[in-house]
């Protein structure tokens, strides 16, 4: 249980100011920024599209950037060695880092969508709330899974900052956040399909639009597959690098 909640690791970077900023301020300012950019070139429809996209895309701050950085934090604090030799269950240890970020991600997307509906007047039908809720939960879990995967990669890197920065923003371009994926060249569309954000965002958009259950189930399945695949790959990476660390004794150096 201690491993799952890993309070110091999960909450160490989740200071109150960070949570307030990530959940309440960043979604608002990011949505306003892109709404004005879209408004300059397009109409109300473009603004609506961009606003919903960015409401969901801000999930990357708590799910990717923060989770990815926990590996750095362990190295910097000098606790990585202790973690690597502890007998704790590895899945609990690793997934535990994602529990609090999942909650923060849920809050971030929810607040973002509330802004979208109340401030930017994005059409919303209360009857679609359950479908939207399922989409948000699945997206948050999948994105944190992806963050854990990047955290696994970061285990091998000198720092996770560059990796975190890349995946913090690349979704804005490749996941259909600000314009439909079909606007991109085909190879970039395929690349976009690899990111859980693409499917999560598509599920949220479809839920908001009142898409039929069959359509939603397909999208939810894709998000869930992305989440499971990310976690599985993350565990694989963690085990690989852990073995390497034990063999060389050098992985934990910051």
């Amino acid at each position: 249980m201690n491993a799952i909640f890993a309070p110091r690791t999960s909450l160490g970077f989740m200071r109150l100011d960070f949570v307030l900023g990530t959940v309440f301020i960043i979604p608002f300012t990011q949505m306003v920024f892109f709404a004005f950019v879209a408004g300059l070139s397009g109409g109300a429809a473009a603004v609506s599209f961009v606003v919903v996209g960015n409401a969901v895309a801000t999930v990357t701050y708590s799910s990717i950037f923060s989770v990815c950085q926990t590996t750095d934090s362990e190295k910097e604090a000098g606790t990585m060695e202790h973690l690597l030799v502890s007998p704790a269950n590895r899945f609990a240890l690793y997934f535990g880092r994602g529990v609090v970020p999942i909650l923060a991600s849920l809050a971030t997307v929810t607040v973002g969508l509330v802004y979208a509906v109340t401030i930017f007047h994005v059409p919303f039908n209360a009857a679609e709330s359950p479908a939207i809720a399922v989409s948000i939960v699945l997206t948050a879990v999948a994105m944190v899974g992806f963050g854990l995967l990047l955290g696994g990669v970061a285990l091998y890197l000198r720092t996770s900052i560059i990796l975190g920065n890349i995946f913090l923003f690349i979704g804005l371009l490749l996941s259909g956040v600000n314009f439909p994926l079909s606007s991109l060249p085909l190879p970039l569309q395929y690349l976009g399909d690899v990111f859980p954000l693409t499917w999560g965002l598509a599920a949220v958009r479809a839920s908001l639009a009142g898409a039929p259950l069959g359509t939603l189930l397909g999208l939810w399945l894709n998000v869930a597959v992305g989440a499971v695949a990310s976690l599985a790959l993350a565990m694989l990476l963690w085990k690989t690098f852990e073995r390497r660390a034990l063999a060389t004794g050098s992985i934990a150096r910051f």
Partner: protein, 266 residues
């Protein structure tokens, strides 16, 4: 120590040299401040595509400014935070050289590095555009671009000064990033914002400089009604005010550290 036993100019050059060497030792740190602007530039380019040839300039100017913000303002703002983090803030402040000169050296280098970033972002968006960028007067454009970065640096120096007194520097910078982009109208004219926000925007020197830059580069641009030259005057005026504020705050910081000696707590 006698007042002439040290040289402020030499200190400034030494800090500048150290900043350059630190950067050259690990230049990958330019990358984080480039990723977001390049992505934002490409997103804006895609959003503006089909809206007319001059809209590519909005994407370039905005993304270039973001890159310079990343390097100049983050770097300068963090100039104090890094000292605090490394435990060198108090020794540096207690040295005979005024701290402003130490920060000044870092700011100068961050400004140069910011220009590298701006140039790279310009190149990426220009290559994506695939046609000549519609600039009527490239030389004036470059000069104005340099001026914009000076206004950004002035904000960075004030942040560096203010951050001595707070442990929330990172929080303010991260959370304030998009607010700054919106407030300065880096990718759209500030006049599109609600009128009541205009006074807030005008407190920031880059707002004036960017408006002037667009007047210069975009034919038919409709920014502040007072036009190009008043934008320049406003930018110079606010930049000077920021530099005076920074100097005053740094002096007060030095006095404060002599009185209480606890600035290293964070």
């Amino acid at each position: 120590m006698a007042p002439n036993a040290y040289s402020r100019g030499r200190s400034l050059v030494a800090v500048l040299r150290l900043s350059v060497l630190t950067f050259l030792a690990d230049p990958q740190w330019l990358i984080p401040s480039l990723i977001a602007p390049v992505v934002f530039g490409l997103v804006a380019y895609e959003l503006f595509s089909g809206a007319g040839p001059f809209f590519v300039l909005y994407a370039i100017l905005g993304a270039g400014m973001m890159s310079m913000w990343g390097q100049t303002l983050y770097g300068s703002g963090w100039a104090t935070g890094a000292d605090r983090h490394l435990g060198t803030l108090e020794p540096t402040l207690s040295s005979p050289t005024p701290y402003l000169y130490v920060v000044g050296g870092r700011v100068i280098w961050n400004t140069v590095a910011g220009l590298f970033g701006g140039a790279i972002v310009f190149a990426v968006v220009a290559v994506t555009y695939g046609r000549p960028i519609p600039l009527s007067d490239p030389l004036d454009f470059v000069l104005m671009f340099l001026f914009v970065i000076v206004t950004l640096a002035s904000v960075g120096v004030v942040f560096a000064a203010a951050y001595v007194y707070t442990r929330y520097a990172g929080f303010i910078q991260n959370v304030g990033e998009f607010a700054f982009y919106v407030g300065t109208g880096c990718m759209f004219p500030v006049v599109l914002l609600p009128f009541w926000t205009n006074p807030i925007s005008l407190v920031l020197p880059p707002t004036w400089a960017l408006d002037a830059l667009r007047y210069l580069a975009i034919p038919g641009y409709q920014g502040f009604s007072w036009g190009f030259w008043w934008d320049i005057i406003g930018a110079v005026g606010t930049t000077l005010v920021y530099l005076v504020i920074a100097g005053t705050v740094f002096k007060s910081v030095e006095r404060h550290v002599l009185e209480v000696g606890d600035l290293n707590d964070w």
